[in-house]
């Protein structure tokens, strides 16, 4: 932000009072036309003004923003989120975080964007990330563990986000294997862990978390309406995104520490407790073909154990789960 007094500063400093175009023009040393142009620009950015002839302008609504300094003050973590970039717009926070990680950014570096123009989901799918409505963020992790254990970290991330959502919003989201968050069968959050490895050594991992926080039903494109929902829709009120981001960082860091000290067993128990997949008949579409059966448990490595009709127990590491009946 420039040091110069802006139109926005002036209006925000006088929230109740009308300021005439003439007064604004004088105090900012700009023309009346320039004032009018700036007002329009702010309107486009989501600000709302009341404009009354012979009285002037006053600000009546400003877009909710994720304020980096408010977020930093809210965070009760040791490292997660403390190195923070909040971007007005980004093609993909995954890509931003990846570049930071390649440049040596430390574990816990967080990139948040108000909107993503090319948000990424799994398997090259797009992730709908409209402006100011959601939490679109990516966290740099440097797990000192072999690549072999990555499925466990994927499950851990789901647990962290699920716990934070329940705590801050009261919405009782559940985990669909491996790490989607659902409410009544509709997706409320997607998680994507991208990792870069050399042989078995994980150079870094980027945990991408997309939470549909404050989207209204009409914000969704038609094809998403039957399968997606938002925390605002479910909770009946807007979510404080700063509080939720801070809670995700806290839960994530605490579970990550627990995992490093105690291994996967406590994480598996938490995941199982929050799961909407276990105990159900499912079909998992894997690279090797579909596997149908009873979703029994997580095994020690993080694979989903499917009991097939003929009683065999198959571990499944990767795939899309479809709940049956």
């Amino acid at each position: 932000m420039s040091e110069k007094l802006t139109l926005l500063d002036l209006l925000l400093a006088n929230p109740q009072k009308f300021l005439s175009g003439e007064e604004i023009s004088r105090r900012l040393s700009v023309s009346r036309t320039a004032v009018w142009k700036q007002i329009n620009k702010l309107r486009e950015a989501g600000y709302e003004f009341e404009a009354v002839p012979n009285k002037g302008y006053r600000i009546v609504n400003q877009p909710e923003r994720i304020d980096p300094s408010a977020l930093k003050k809210t965070l009760k973590t040791k490292t997660f989120g403390l190195k923070l970039d909040v971007l007005e717009t980004s093609v993909s926070t995954q890509e931003e975080a990846r570049e930071l990680a390649e440049a040596g950014a430390p574990e816990g570096t967080l990139v948040v964007a108000e909107e993503q123009t090319g948000g990424k989901g799994r398997m090259g799918r797009k992730w709908f990330s409209p402006k100011g409505k959601g939490i679109w963020m990516s966290l740099v992790l440097k797990p000192a563990q072999p690549l072999h254990y990555m499925p466990q970290l994927t499950l851990l991330t789901g647990v962290a986000v699920c716990r934070a959502v329940r705590r801050v919003t009261g919405v009782m989201a559940g985990l669909k294997w491996p790490n989607d968050l659902l409410v009544d069968g509709r997706k409320i959050c997607g998680i994507l862990l991208e990792s870069a490895a050399e042989d078995e050594y994980v150079r870094y991992c980027i945990a991408g978390i997309g939470i549909s926080a404050n989207l209204d039903a009409e914000d969704y494109p038609d094809e998403l309406k039957p399968v997606a929902t938002s925390l605002k829709i479910e909770a009946g009120e807007a979510i404080d995104r700063v509080q939720l981001i801070a809670a995700v960082m806290e839960e994530f860091e605490a579970l990550y520490d627990l995992y490093r000290q105690e291994g996967f067993a406590p994480i598996a128990l938490l995941w199982e407790a929050l799961s909407v997949t276990l105990g159900k008949q499912v079909t998992v579409y894997t690279a090797a073909g579909p596997v149908t059966g009873h979703a029994k448990k997580l095994d020690h490595s993080g694979a989903l154990t499917i009991v097939t009709e003929d009683g065999r127990e198959l571990p499944v590491f990767s795939g899309d789960v479809e709940l049956r009946r």
Copy 2:
């Protein structure tokens, strides 16, 4: 290559004959000074000329090059190596292959460089890749399998290179876990598999293979002399790099097909047969600390099973192995 007749074309077309500077100058329509400058440039690139006053120049030695068309003709594969880039120089063939993979290059795309100026080894180490002396190459793989199985692919790559080296050169190299090639305890080849994954889905993997083919003892910097050797040193004669690259591609493709059809069991047997690690007392330096014991076998996932002094069997997924005694 330009269509214009070059000095090199002219000299190569007349291998025995001396061509005077005047004649060359006339036939290429360039000045005598330009001829002299070009001769010096080619000398820097490894060509050797005999220059006799009043007779002129003739070519007596040219640097051995990896000829892409000769390589393509030699390859007996379905896909591996058929999409081929042979570069005079590259910072890192891993990086070139990674960019090609990100841009959608198919499985089997191969990048070979005569030299690497920033060749990469494991853990950010440098890989010594002098010009014209080795095989510095990277292959794009798109294994349709979960990330979970990557250790198996690392071991498979070692087996493929080891088999090709033994077949083409007769040098009885052995595999140090997970995939270094050694001759009498000295490193002759390094392998590095870099993978990019989304959750458990492997987007692509770049298999980097560096074979010290035709290095002479004096080519090595002092710090590498005690720990490295080359195929030329061990075999007592220069290696035909085109034959060896083609053999690596063939072995790699055949084992990759076998692995997809039969799983890891036959690969594990081959790896064990070629290993210089099994049956030895070893210390493995892992991220979680050193593990010392008897290297017993590969387990079904590709982990090295270490039997510790108190009789426990520990699976090790990642680390540097040190042979003891």
